[in-house]
C-alpha cells in the first residue's frame, strides 16, 4: 500500500500501469487469499468448535471475508492503482449498501437475542410451532423484566 500515493495523479491512464501489477504481486495476493480461506475454514474442525465460542468464530470469519474482499478489490480489480475517478463510483455504492444494511438493523435487533416473549403473535403463526407459553418464554420474560428494572 506504500506506493499508493505515487500513483494517484489525476488523469492517470488506466492502461499504463503495467509496472504496478506484476505477476509476482498477483501470486502473493493469491497466496494471501488461500491462507485467509484456510483461516476461516479452521472453524469447521471440531477442535476449533470445542475451544472457540461461536460469536468469536463468526466475527473472525467476517473479518477474514472483508480482508479477502479488500485484497481482491485493491489488487485484482486494480482499484489501488486507479486515478481519483474510483471514488465517484465506489463511495456512493458503499454508502447505499451500508444504508441498506442499516435499514435491516431494526429487524435484526428485534429478532435476535430478544427473548421469545418479544415475538409478535403474527410471527408465531408462521413460526415452527404455534406459540405456547413454555419455560423458556417465562425465563426470557423474567430476564426482560430484570433488564427494565435495572434501567
Amino acid at each position: 500500500m506504500s506506493d499508493h500515493d505515487q500513483h494517484t495523479e489525476v488523469g492517470h491512464d488506466s492502461h499504463d500501469h503495467a509496472h504496478h501489477g506484476g505477476n509476482g504481486k498477483y501470486l502473493l495476493v493469491f497466496v494471501a487469499l488461500c491462507l485467509l480461506t484456510t483461516g476461516s475454514f479452521l472453524t469447521y474442525f471440531p477442535f476449533w468448535r470445542a475451544h472457540v465460542p461461536v460469536p468469536a468464530s463468526r466475527a473472525l470469519m467476517m473479518a477474514i471475508s472483508c480482508t479477502k474482499a479488500m485484497l481482491v478489490i485493491m489488487f485484482f480489480m486494480h482499484l489501488l492503482w486507479e486515478a481519483n475517478w474510483k471514488w465517484v463510483l465506489t463511495i456512493p455504492a458503499t454508502f447505499m449498501s451500508v444504508f441498506l444494511g442499516l435499514m435491516l438493523v431494526p429487524d435484526v435487533g428485534w429478532r435476535i437475542n430478544n427473548g421469545y416473549a418479544r415475538y409478535s403473535e403474527e410471527r408465531w403463526v408462521y413460526a415452527a410451532d404455534p406459540h405456547k407459553v413454555e419455560a423458556s418464554d417465562l425465563k426470557a420474560a423474567e430476564k426482560d423484566l430484570q433488564r427494565e428494572g435495572a434501567n
Binding site: H15, A18, F30, C34, M61, D107, A128, E134
Partner: protein
Amino acid sequence: MSDSHGPRLSYQPALPIPNGKTCLWLFLSTEIMFFAGLIGTYIVLRFGAVAWPAPHDVLLSEPLGAFNTFVLICSSVTVVLAFEAAKMNQSGKAKGYITLTLLLGCVFLGVKMYEYSHKFEHGIYPVKPHGMVYDKADVYYSAAVRKRLNDLKTPLTAKGPNATEDDKARILVIDEVMKKVDAAETAVRNQPDSPEGVIKLTELAYEIYPPHDQGTVIQAAEAGAIPPAIVVKYAAYEQPTADGKSEGKGEEREGINEKNPWLRLPIMIPGGPMWASTYFLLTGFHAIHVIVGLIAFALMLFTTLDRSRATLVENVGLYWHFVDLVWIFLFPLLYLF
C-alpha cells in the same frame, strides 16, 4: 464575459476511463446493492428464525464449499494474468489464461451441480410440491408420510401373485413404517391434550431422517418445534470433542430413508424450508452470475486478445472478480455460520 474573471476551467467530458469501463463499474455498484440486499435478508431470516438446521442436517459439505472458494480464487488469478498478457499484446497467452478461467468456472459449476443434485435426491427443495421438507412433525407431516407410503404400496400390491421377492420385502418395510404412523396418529387423536402424540410423531420423523447435530435438536426443542422430551433421547448424539473424534455412532444415525433409498419419505428438519429458500436463492443467483461470466469468456475466445482488446479483458475480469467477491461472503455465511 464572465469567463475572464474566474479561473479557467477545462471541461472534462467523462471519467478519464473508457466508457465501457465506466458502465461496468456502474453496473457493479448496482450489483453490490443487489447482493447486499440478498445477504442482508438472509441474515435477518437466519438469525430471526426460531430454528435453523445445522449444515450436515441439510447435507452441506464444508470441504466442498472451501474447495469451490479455492477454485474461484484461482480463476480470479488466471483472469488477471490474462489481462496482463493482453496488455503485453500476447494474444495467445491471454487466450490460454481465459481458457483456464473458463475451465475453473466450469469446475465451480460442476461442484455446485453435484451439491444441488445431492440435496434434490434427498427431497431438499425450496418449494412444497417438489420439496419434502417439513418444519415440524405434525399431522400434516404424518399425512404426507402416509400418502407417500400409500402411493408406493398401491402398484406393489396390484402385482398380486407376480410380485417378486424384492416387492414383498418392500411391502413389509412399508407396512412397518405405516404401523408407526398409525400409532402416532392414534396417540394424537385419542389424547389431543397430551404431548404423547407429538412425541411419537417427532420420533418417527427422526427415525426417517435422523438429526445430525445435537445442538440443533436442543435449539429446535427450545423453540418449540419439537417436544423437549425428545432431547433426552437424542442427547446421546455426540458433541464435537476436543480431539476431533466426532464419528462414533455412525450406524445408529442411519435413517429409514437412508436404508431404503427407494422410499423417499417426507423428512422433518426444523427451519429446513426457510433454509432451502435462502440457500437456493443466494447460491442460485450467484450461479447465474457465474454462467454469464462463463458465456463472456467463451465468446472472448473467438476474438484476438491483443492490446486493442485489453479493455474488454479488463471489463470481463472486473465482473468475474465481483462474482468471486460475492462467493467470498457466501461461503462462510452459508457453510460455516
